[in-house]
Amino acid sequence: MISKPATGKYPFVKCVPAEGFRGQQVFDIGLCVSCGLCSRDCPAKAIEMVEVNGKKRPLFYLDRCIFCYQCAESCPRNAIKATDIFELATTDKSSLVVKPTTTQKNSGA
């Protein structure tokens, strides 16, 4: 009747989502051709094209993002890649806006 609890150890043990989990996207500015397809196809209007050094680049609003990865699929140059970062919670909404910088690492939280 009393068996070992089925409770996981999170948050004390890091949780590793299954391979292929749709976490935060990583954008590689080096591959971007400023086509704007990601922004056009985004169902949640979470991607805005902003000017960086004279070129239009995608700006991600993670608070709107529904993590469907349509942007990654639409991108002709695979500039948007998957990660399994999901611990994005924050007490400050403005930290959820991910600006297109040269190389992007985990910027959530």
Partner: protein, 181 residues
């Protein structure tokens, strides 16, 4: 004394969950938190049925026009100090439903929000992470100017008993004609 109160507050955040027009995706993840895999009772988090008992309001879903008023009312029914957590893309900003005629957008259009948990839906782990981050932010001295704490300090001073309209817990009672026999 304040330390003790703070300790108790951090160790016993009772939550109430309100769906303000979500697709159920976030809601089932919130409920999943109670179940063996995640079991947030470990941290003293309890899901309370009545807003009067709760400390944290978990809101899921873009706020529909029909629900906005209700959401505000539930927030008003909660005793100070109280906190709001927006769970999921819809609660954070309206998500995929931005610009539909039935919704207002994120929860912050209606209430002061203390923590945002993006995701569609966020994993239960992400929700735990969000609550932990909220509690850490509360514990961090000096407390950052949290909207609701300020309100607590200004709007409800020394006065211990706040009068509220009769329409109280979960739903406004229309009338109590039945006397307890």
């Amino acid at each position: 004394m304040t330390n003790l109160a703070m300790w108790a507050r951090l160790k016993s955040p009772w939550v109430i969950h309100f769906n303000s027009g979500a697709c159920n995706g976030c809601d089932i993840e919130v409920v999943a938190l109670l179940t063996p895999r995640y079991d947030v009772e470990r941290f003293g988090i309890k899901l309370e049925p009545s807003p009067r008992h709760a400390d944290v309001l978990l809101v899921t879903g873009s706020v529909t026009k029909q629900c906005a008023d209700r959401l505000k009312r539930i927030y008003d029914q909660m005793p100070q100090p109280k906190f709001v957590v927006a769970i999921g893309a819809c609660a954070c900003s309206g998500g995929v439903f931005q610009g539909t005629y039935g919704t207002l957008g994120g929860v912050d259009k209606v209430l002061p929000v203390n923590a945002y948990i993006p995701g569609c839906p966020p994993r239960p782990e992400a929700i735990i992470d969000g609550v932990v981050k909220l509690l850490n932010a509360l514990a961090a001295p000096p407390a950052p100017p949290k909207a609701s704490e300020e309100e607590a300090a200004t709007e409800a001073p020394a006065e211990e008993v706040t009068e509220v309209p009769a329409e109280t817990a979960p739903d406004a009672p229309e009338e109590v004609k039945k006397d307890a026999e």
